[in-house]
Symmetry: C2
Subunit: 252 residues, 2 copies
Amino acid sequence: MEDSLSRQNTGLMPYLVATSQILGVAVLAITGTWLSQYRGGFSWDGPEQFNVHPLCMVLGMVFLCGDALLVYRVFRHETKRATKILHGALHILALIISLVGIIAVFQFHKKKNIPDMYSMHSWLGIVTFSFYILQWIIGFIMFFVPGVAFAYKSRIKPLHVFFGIGLLVTTIATCLLGLTEKVLFSIPDQYSHLPSEGILINSLGLLLVAFGMVIGYIVTREEWRRPPLPEEQALSIDFKTLTEGGESPTEP
Amino acid sequence: MEDSLSRQNTGLMPYLVATSQILGVAVLAITGTWLSQYRGGFSWDGPEQFNVHPLCMVLGMVFLCGDALLVYRVFRHETKRATKILHGALHILALIISLVGIIAVFQFHKKKNIPDMYSMHSWLGIVTFSFYILQWIIGFIMFFVPGVAFAYKSRIKPLHVFFGIGLLVTTIATCLLGLTEKVLFSIPDQYSHLPSEGILINSLGLLLVAFGMVIGYIVTREEWRRPPLPEEQALSIDFKTLTEGGESPTEP
């Protein structure tokens, strides 16, 4: 009975995971199409350097970070070690790509003599990215460096999960602000007549929100949590007994 | 041991609830100050009708909706019925105030011949408000109309909770978009020199995000869930046995 119930409960998850990937790819495709069709495409040295920024941020901070959150649900039957490595690898990629995106916009501003860091987009973006770096450092120390006590890990984990989702949300909000800024700078007079570029950008905004919502739903369902493998379960109970019982073998 | 642990676990909650209320009041005060000091104050018939829109949306859709989510945590020792009524009452207020805010902006656009519904702010706003109405209707039928089976309620409840938090998030994102639009329409040339109005609006954006984050954290901590009162627990176990066991007294 319980087995069939748990199978029934995870029944929707694969469809939602598929939906999230379709939304993610759609978001990337629309971002690329918008920048190449309406904003002159990409270059590193020319005036199109700006366009590297939105593409890298959507790819790194939205798509790859979003997928990194899904790793523990999707690869639920792999070892914890393997899923951790994949989670970390996706975040290394995300970090590198979004750093390229951030450098692109600062270099572009410098060349064009445009002031930095005055808009709400830039404020929220820099706060989000700083917390992302902090989350990266704490996450790395806690979950990759060996020897951290189980008691610390289990205290930090819910915070790590909450801020992971929270940072995806503020990243998407930052993207929407960036898109709104860009459309008001680029086509201020035409936007209110809803030209095709305006429709594309607005749709991109809604799809980004939908991507975040689906990822948020998948990773907050308690019943879809990665079940610990039998050997992990035994190990974690051992540790729990040691740490919660107040008796530690290292402190006799 | 378990009792002291649960007391310890809820220890931070009152401070976070207080923080959320300070943030909420700060957000309202800054919105009011910005609109009256920099945007000419409020009126219903004059050109200041627009200003009713941001104030009502921040008060109704952000502050009151955010507080409505907290009701079950803050009044954890009141009866379920009393907390439900308070949750519903806050949402009635939120609905009325945000309807006034929405009417204000549509009337203002009509008088000034400004096109409606072309920006990402308006798209995300109308989608969010439509889902809010839907959430309202489903929530009312499920949790206020008597006679709905326990099995349905317990299926809908996690969805109701997820969409409640999700709608607060998209509401805040919509506010940030609205603030960015407004500042780029009102002071397009000065914004990049960060005048006091720009700093105020950017800070308002970050405080709105902080408000959402703190509320989100409080309502997603499993250990801070409202514990069922002893009489509710007995009742819910009875219902659970009846519904999950597949035997119903009404269907012999």
